[in-house]
Symmetry: C2
Subunit: 205 residues, 2 copies
């Protein structure tokens, strides 16, 4: 296959992949509302995506979905926030920003994913849409972790982000109850964390 | 399986997994010598690990290894730097720090990985050792990407880190030539990037 490897098309393909890989470095500058556990600064999307991928690896046994495709779920969480490079992070309790979120994100997906060779652009786009639609077992599990992870960080950082945004326990429960669509165990755990956060004064009742 | 899910052992298992997941959040505060592409700050290990996992996904076609296990490689890069939470990042051109690197990292692995339930602690430990020993196709590909990624970032940030450490082209070639053990295409690409970096004055000849 050496000849193919050195063909102009092959180099062109690699260059497109590298262009994408370098472009998405910008995800490291997209900051979320959640603080890292030591409370010193906000978390960015690249760190968040790494954390989710690790959680897919370690917590997959807790979903009740049958035959979860772990690699597929991992790919999904690795790319799920890339559109925020252009569209920005929309805070989950910000109803006004949510209005044009979909349009902003689709435009971002079109620009960024199309840096890749066509087949990979299609694969990444489909992974992203699958994540957004939350209809498959993998997307439901990815969504559950995407809710659980900031909850763990908010608890560990003594609720700084909850307090900054004056979030209450009932909002947290409503926002995060999709965890239950993928895992009863993780949802019960999340509820216990929120209850304890209220007890400790991290979260308003 | 509901009874098992709610047993004390099962909750204890989940708590251990969560303890590990929260502990490794500290990887977001372990800074490397490489700058992110816009040159404004150094990259941390969590971001770097996310970037590598994405590269496993997108560049796997370029290794000449037969039947590469992509999920296995992805798990490896997600956990490969976790020991640096205790052991710190050892700069690749620092020969003195390299002397006790292994001892520091093994001690860190023992503390951090053992937060997990025993079976997962074993799995993560084996993945980490496999990465360190660079003997399997997956470890060789992970190592290749671990070299290529900072090279791409150094080039994109106009060589700030190369200049800070007065690194020369010949050192870069020697340090990174392991890329060739997994992929001729990626190695040829890396050499072209280094040549261009010299031309542009980012890297000393």
């Amino acid at each position: 296959m050496a000849e193919v490897e050195f063909s102009k098309d092959s180099l062109d393909r690699l260059q497109k992949q590298i262009d994408f890989i370098v472009e998405v470095d910008k995800l490291k500058q997209i900051y979320r509302q959640t603080y890292i556990t030591d409370g010193t600064r906000k978390e960015n999307d690249a760190e968040h995506s790494w954390h989710l991928a690790l959680m897919v690896f370690l917590l997959a046994e807790h979903t009740f979905e049958q035959k979860l495709d772990i690699l597929h779920t991992m790919k999904m969480v690795l790319i799920h926030d890339i559109v925020e490079i252009d569209a920005g992070d929309t805070y989950c309790y910000d109803d006004i920003a949510a209005l044009d979120k979909e349009e902003r994100e689709r435009k971002a997906a079109a620009r960024i994913f199309n840096l890749l060779p066509a087949d990979q652009a299609k694969e990444v786009w489909e992974l992203w849409e699958e994540f957004e639609e939350v209809r498959t077992p993998e997307a439901r599990f990815a969504a559950a972790l995407d809710r659980l992870q900031p909850l763990l960080l908010n608890y560990a950082s003594a609720g700084i982000s909850w307090q900054e945004h004056e979030v209450k326990r009932c909002q947290c429960l409503k926002r995060n109850n999709h965890i239950e669509d993928s895992s009863k165990v993780l949802w019960d755990y999340a509820v216990r964390v929120l209850d304890d956060a209220v007890k400790k004064g991290y979260l308003a009742d």
